[in-house]
């Protein structure tokens, strides 16, 4: 093995297929998107090179800032609900005092395997302004809080983000659960001997040792929020008006409704840049030395 590891040609040959695949499938489309963002192009006719005009226009477009803001809100909801509640549930199902833990573990993961269309249709019924379960629930409790959940310009994005958070929380739950399970039991035993309660033990041992898992979960949640598309496409069509647009939706609108592929590519380029910046920041924040005991 060591002989192969010293052989640079062998290393190059072994990584070549993966590198080639990555280049073709990931790197090439990103470069093409950037290249095409410098054209005025309807997707079919001959493209006209306009250099950075699409970006200049993008930075003056109110829809761009609204879409970016919605993406950030969406990401924030995902972080709070998926990672926050995910952590809470993980700590709950790893506690031996909780009954039916296996059943709960499976239950939390079930929404992940549902089709996104099914999940959205389900929640469309829940959010229905006239007959929806949520309004009926408030009505049953005698609370006067009837809302037009998806028809609200300010509230619709939160309503949609909750659907995504609900569906994929199980995924983050699984990642965090695996990380908690990998913490040696003797750390907790030592904490108990030292007189630490459950909360103290989790704060001092569990959470610090989950940093690597959190890093991964944050990257997934934030980039997932920034480029959200399917939920709003199915549930509101980006509406009312443009109230639930994200950059991905803006890209779709530019390319397929307005026939401005170049402008759509500029939106996509900004989305890639945003996701890249978010990933770098997350890595910086979580990049300190791993906690060891």
């Amino acid at each position: 093995m060591e002989k192969y590891l010293r052989d640079r040609t062998a290393i190059a040959v072994f990584i070549l297929p993966t590198l080639l695949l990555f280049t073709i499938v990931v790197f090439n489309p990103i470069l093409q998107t950037f290249y095409r963002s410098m054209f005025e192009w309807d997707g079919l006719s001959e493209a006209q090179f306009i250099f950075f005009d699409n970006f200049t226009r993008l930075f003056q477009d109110r829809l761009f800032y609204d879409s970016m803001y919605n993406g950030l809100l969406f990401a924030a909801v995902l972080v709070v609900l998926q990672i926050g509640i995910g952590t809470f549930l993980v700590l709950a199902v790893t506690d031996s005092a909780i009954k039916y833990r296996k059943f709960l573990r499976i239950s939390y993961f079930i929404p992940v395997v549902l089709s996104i269309t099914v999940a959205c249709q389900l929640w469309l019924s829940v959010y229905n302004g006239e007959y929806g379960l949520l309004n009926k629930f408030f009505e049953t409790l005698g609370i006067s809080y009837r809302q037009d959940w998806l028809n609200s310009e300010k509230g619709a994005i939160f309503a949609i983000a909750v659907v995504n958070a609900w569906q994929y929380m199980g995924y983050h739950f699984a990642i965090l659960l695996a990380a908690v399970k990998s913490i040696p039991e003797q750390y907790f035993e030592a904490a108990r001997i030292d007189g630490a309660g459950k909360v103290r033990a989790h704060l001092s041992i569990t959470l610090p040792l989950l940093v690597e898992a959190y890093r991964f979960c944050f990257v997934l949640a934030i980039t997932g929020g920034l480029n959200a598309f399917a939920n709003m496409f199915i549930m509101t069509g980006g509406g009312p008006g443009t109230a639930t647009y994200t950059l991905t939706y803006m890209m779709y609108r530019s390319a397929f409704r307005v026939n401005e592929f170049g402008y759509g590519c500029a939106s996509a380029t900004m989305l890639v840049v945003q996701c890249l910046i978010a990933t770098i920041i997350i890595n910086k924040l979580f990049g300190r030395e791993s906690v060891t005991y």
Partner: protein, 448 residues
Amino acid sequence: MKKYLSLLAILMLGVVVIFTVTACGANQQDDSSGATEKTDGINGQSDKKQEEPVKLRIYAQYADEDTKAPYDYAVEALKKEMPNVELELDVQAQDDGQKLKTYAATGNLPDIFQSGLDIINTFKKSDNILVLDEYAKKTGFIDKMHPSAMNTLYADDGHIYAFPYAGNELILLFYNKEIFEQNDVKVPTTYDELLTAVKDFRSKGVTPLSIFAKEKWPCVGLYDIFATRLEPEGIKKLDQGKAKASEEAYKQGAERIIELVKAGLLPKGATNLNYDQAAALFHQGKAAMFINGQWEIEASTKALGDKVDWMYYPAHDAASVEKTKYAFSGSGGPGGYAVSPHTKDKELAVEVAAFMSLKYAECKYTRRSNPILATRVDLPIEQPYPAMMEKLSVDIPKITSTTAFAWGLSNPKFKAALEDATQRLLTGSYSADDFVKDLDDVIERINK
């Protein structure tokens, strides 16, 4: 090691460059081949080929009774007329033409496809649609057109790109007479009466107006109804860049919708209702009014019988009731069955496309009691017109102006902006000033 990795990186970059360059090159090649195909024109080879079995791919609407029945009727007729031609149906997706544009971009256009103004405008620039001027004369299609529907045949540049079947369709405001009578509400003739009716219905727990605003064109239609009370050309004038949204007619249209929405015009979640949900509210007697095209007449008559009728749009004020009574929203535009310039046998494909359009219209007239067609039909109708269609057919010659449906707008940028802005109006939280600003920004950019 670093040296090897650097070499690898350079190699990968090379791969990317090659991919990028070849992708662009392929596109240009496709475009030029398209242009060559288009200039070929009629090649006179079809007589011989007509006798051989031919399979043509057709991209057509086939979603509900109103689209399935005419298509099936036309296909049956085609089997008798041209038994050697077999049609392979590719069902049209409700996706703003995305699938069809992808077909065009990948050089995989169906031989015949249904097209609207957006597709015509996009495809003619990239030579993906056959110019049918000569064929329309040769097949005799032009002679069969209704003189009043020639606007559905010719595009803005004076050329023919599709064989139309639909005529100048209109947006109608349907209402349930029984609900109005039971609640002692007057059928509104002016805006003020409409506002009163909305408040009355809302106070009695009845939904005043049902609208399937998840599709954005009915939102545009509703807005156009109010805009046309002061400016008969409505949204068409904005689309053509001849007017600004800041003008009184357009700003007031927005203000009136906002006022009505705040008074409770719409059901909860209106911007999320699809046709089935919105129509169910009206057909089941839960909503007093319903907005749709005149093609709704059949479904509403079936559901509500003689309880349903359509009303003239409520006028700006009492003085202008008669003056604006026949200023309708909606109209037709160039569209119908178009032909790919890349099809193997252009003459045959054109002949089939023209035949399908004629038969499509024939079915709509004889079997679906729809006289609003692009082409003349000499056959008798199989069932009498519903009362609402009778009333409309009497009024059609009196129409003083029409505008356009959202899909008939010529500029996709303006269309998208108008659709988004009018849908936002239905939330009641979007101000008329913002509406005007957003639209005028787009209009200004388009006309720059």
